[in-house]
């Protein structure tokens, strides 16, 4: 394995718009809102940005193709700008582009910005859309909840868990995220919900009820990155650096080969293992202080906790119900509300997760700040479906 990028890149500034049903905002408005916070945090001028990456996934609903919408919204001075798309993990892809540019020396300062303007669909949930010419002919007319729901059946079959056990753990996850988001002024859904409400909610895709599914939101988030040396030279004392950045992409194994049992994310396991190696982490459960996972559905969060080696295999239900991942628990998970309640503007989500870890490490998370300042945090940004997906794992921490 290559040496990796541990501590080669520092986060200079981050920004995040209010997430939600932003009926009055164009994507460009959201871009500017996130960027204004990010550049002010970085303390630089827009002309100091050497290169930029834009993440959007369902661009046909808002900005259209290419990187031009970002360059235009911010009047970037004719610098290299690249648009990336990798399902719901697009935000971390933009981050990876910017981080790699800095790590390589091609750029001193780079911008990653993710945006999604989803609430022009006319109905709730992600837009129903084509999946590609041949896929349209041989795939079910599927939805994300329909595919992620299948984790539950396979997980239960494998671990001998009852539907009721899984439903209870999933409900705990959603209640916890709503509780957390109540402290987050930028979150889309800030209402508290009860366990009973979750368990009795209308079914979306068996066994996922309404509250097992994340919100669909408008929003944007961004990161401005540079080298730790430049950050220091700019007078920064508290530096958050990138410890690891890994991406694993399904190659058809899960969809086509019977070695995958459908109860876990193969990509997440691969990406997590590589990320821990890159970050020199030996025991994730002991060394990771805080985590933001891709909780598009409550069941995704549940199985991901095992895939990230935070819970032992088959033990996530117990850890969740024991409060291990609650805001006051050992490893808070979704302390900002997660996709579930902060919201899920697709292209922005990966950057929103890093934004939260960044704030938490610097002690700037306000009401929702973890009591003991975390030193090492992790984000997990997934795109696609359990049987074919892309998975990003990023580890960021205090730079010593």
């Amino acid at each position: 394995m290559p040496a990796g990028i541990r501590d080669k890149v520092a986060i200079l500034g981050m920004g995040c718009s209010k997430f939600g049903e932003r009926w009055d905002s164009e994507a460009s408005d959201l871009i500017v809102e996130a960027f204004s916070e990010g550049i002010s945090d970085a303390g630089i001028d827009v002309k100091q940005i050497d290169a930029a990456w834009l993440a959007t996934a369902i661009e046909e609903q808002h900005v259209g193709k290419s990187a031009v919408p970002l360059a235009t919204a911010l009047r970037l001075p004719f610098i290299p700008v690249t648009r990336v798309e990798n399902f719901c993990a697009s935000g971390t892809e933009a981050f990876r582009g910017a981080v790699y540019a800095v790590a390589s020396g091609a750029a001193d300062i780079a911008l990653a910005l993710g945006v999604e303007k989803l609430k022009d669909t006319g109905y709730g949930g992600l837009p129903q859309r084509g999946r590609g010419t041949l896929n349209n002919m041989v795939w079910p007319n599927l939805s994300a909840p329909g595919l992620f729901a299948q984790l539950a059946a396979a997980y239960a079959a494998k671990h001998g868990a009852s539907r009721q056990d899984i439903k209870r753990a999933m409900a705990h996850i959603s209640v916890k995220s709503h509780d957390n988001a109540a402290h987050n002024p930028k979150a889309h859904l800030r209402n508290r919900i009860t366990l009973d409400a979750v368990l009795n909610a209308p079914m979306v895709a068996e066994p996922l009820g309404l509250f097992d599914c994340c919100g669909v939101s408008d929003g944007a988030a961004c990161a401005i990155v540079t080298t730790p040396e430049i950050a220091r030279a700019m007078g920064r004392a508290d530096i958050v650096s990138v410890k690891a950045l890994q991406l694993s992409v399904s190659n058809g194994l899960e969809a086509q080969h019977n070695s995958w049992d459908g109860s876990y994310f193969h990509t997440t396991r691969v990406a997590a293992k590589r990320a821990y190696q890159e970050a020199a982490i030996k025991n994730a459960r002991e060394e990771i202080d805080i985590v933001e996972v891709h909780d598009c559905f409550s069941v995704t969060e549940l199985v991901t906790l095992e895939d990230l080696q935070l819970s032992d295999e088959g033990r996530a239900i117990n850890d969740v119900l024991d409060g291990f991942y609650d805001s006051g628990g050992t490893i808070p998970c979704q302390i900002d509300g997660g996709l579930k309640c902060f919201g899920h503007p697709i292209g922005a989500s990966g950057l929103r997760m890093i934004y939260e870890i960044y704030l938490q490490i610097l002690g700037r998370a306000g009401e929702r700040q973890r009591k003991t300042l975390p030193r090492m945090g992790m984000t997990h940004n997934l795109g696609g479906f359990p049987h074919q997906n892309v998975c990003s794992v990023a580890i960021v921490g205090r730079y010593d």
Binding site: N136, S143, P145, G146, A153, A157, L253, A255, Q256
Partner: protein
């Protein structure tokens, strides 16, 4: 070796609409329909049509038979989904029949199937004759109650026939008891008493007489008289006129299935062949702008040829449906609010369909010659992580494989004409897997490990262009277990 019927099979859709549901819904308007309110009729699921039913009947008929030796396929119907695209060609492709094949759609009368069968028997080639019907009927019409959806398939050829043709006769006249045109969706029918007296009773007995004369057989020698007639009391009257015993009049399946139109003569023949003993004589009559009569003698017991579901098996594979509204919606007889999620463009690029026909229409995947891993779809690089050999795969057919549910859901968010959309990962016996649609299943029976088999179904209907695309779906195997 002799020439005759080598195999016979049928397909009846699983859903059986209870006639009392139709009668009760329409009583306010047409109280007279209550006399037709007994029993049930077979109805297509939303994803079934003449082509899909024909494929299933043909698969059943071809059980344990080589598909390589077929020389012809004839598809008979008056309700083809395509007017200018060979429907028999879709069936042939789904069955992966050899491309060097005669293939014909035969249409436009209720006796097309008997005519096709008669001509195939005279042509002397190994042929598959399939008939299927899915008629749209006006709400509160008698035919809505008496008709049913279904299909039948007969294989004729040289070999060890279960029945051989003794004689046949035909008559063609322009007797219009009902009609349907390119401009009209529904049948328009004349008075039943006139159809009976001037039509059936004038045309059929004479045609039967010529057939029996040619064979030197008398009416009393007939063990099974198979003749569909939705008009009441016609069949016993014809039997009497032909000297056929009352007991020989075959059950018309109206109570359990309904009249399957162009497919019905063959469906009755299939049912008779399933019940008959060697030596039994079966007289088959098709009526429509004249008549066909075909006289068969059973030479072997149908039960002796390798197992298939047949009409009895498919009649037993049933689910009662009491929701008349669902039937109306499935047949586009009411406009229901399908929601914005249904508006996704369903365009099928025809060039891509052609390029991928083995994958999409025949469900042929690949088997790696290096490591033996079976996979779907076929690809350049083997999916086995310990192999990943290049260009190592030979075609491997999945359609006849069973599989087990690895994971599943019942999805109420995505658009389905019959929500919830059930789909999941199917793991095939012998290898390979695919995330695919389920059909003919209720969510509460789904479980990990449930055994499933494949059925050819409508995948999507492109309402913008009138096109429909087909693919294979998984159905529970338990309700369609093959006879031993």
């Amino acid at each position: 070796m002799a020439f005759g019927i080598l195999a016979a099979a049928a397909y009846i859709p699983r859903l059986r609409l209870q006639r009392r549901a139709i009668v009760e819904a329409n009583r306010w308007f047409a109280p007279g329909l209550s006399s037709l309110g007994k029993g049930e009729r077979a109805i297509c699921n939303w994803d079934e049509d003449v082509v899909t039913m024909a494929v299933e009947a043909a698969r059943d008929a071809m059980t344990a038979r080589s598909r390589e030796s077929l020389e012809s396929i004839y598809l008979a119907s008056t309700t083809f989904p395509f007017l200018d695209r060979l429907n028999a060609g879709i069936v042939a492709a789904a069955l992966d029949l050899p491309e060097e094949l005669n293939a014909l759609d035969i249409a436009s009368s209720q006796r097309v199937a008997t005519s096709a069968l008669r001509m195939a028997l005279h042509a002397g080639q190994e042929s598959l004759i399939v008939a299927a019907e899915h008629r749209r009927t006006k709400a509160a019409s008698p035919i809505e109650l008496t008709s049913g959806d279904g299909a039948a398939a007969i294989v004729v050829g040289e070999g060890a026939p279960i029945a051989r043709l003794l004689a046949s006769s035909r008559q063609t006249v322009d007797f219009v008891d009902h009609f349907r045109t390119q401009e009209s969706v529904y049948d328009y029918q004349w008075e039943e008493r006139w159809i009976r007296d001037a039509g059936y009773m004038k045309i059929v007995p004479a045609t039967i007489a010529r057939c029996l004369d040619a064979a030197g057989v008398s009416g009393s020698d007939i063990a099974y008289f198979c003749m569909p007639a939705p008009v009441p009391r016609v069949v016993p009257a014809v039997a009497k006129a032909a000297g056929i015993a009352d007991a020989a009049v075959a059950d018309n399946l109206l109570a359990v299935c309904g009249d399957t139109g162009a497919a019905h003569p063959l469906l009755l023949l299939v049912a008779a062949l399933e019940a008959a003993k060697p030596g039994d004589r079966i007289l088959l009559v098709g009526f429509g702008q004249g008549a066909d009569a075909l006289l068969f003698e059973c030479t072997a017991a149908m039960q002796d040829i390798p197992g298939r579901l047949g009409s009895a098996g498919y009649l037993a594979r049933r689910r009662e449906e009491t929701n008349y509204g669902k039937f109306l919606a499935f047949n586009d007889l009411i406009e229901i609010e399908r929601g914005m999620r249904s508006e996704t463009d369903k365009l099928t690029p025809l060039s891509a369909l052609w390029r991928n026909r083995d994958t999409v229409t025949a469900m042929i995947g690949g088997r790696c010659k290096v490591c033996g891993t079976v996979q779907f779809p076929i690809s350049h690089v083997c999916t086995n992580p310990n192999c990943n050999a290049s260009d190592s795969q030979e075609p491997h057919a999945f359609a006849e494989k069973t599989g087990r549910v690895n994971s599943f859901t019942a999805d109420r968010l995505t658009y389905s004409p019959d929500p919830p959309a059930c789909y999941g990962m199917i793991q095939f016996e012998g290898g390979g897997r695919w995330m695919m649609d389920f059909t003919d299943v209720e969510p509460d029976v789904l479980s990990v490990g449930l055994q499933m088999r494949m059925m050819f179904r409508i995948k999507d209907i492109d309402t913008q262009r009138g096109f429909r695309r087909y693919f294979w779906k998984a159905v529970p195997a338990e309700s369609s277990t093959r006879r031993p």
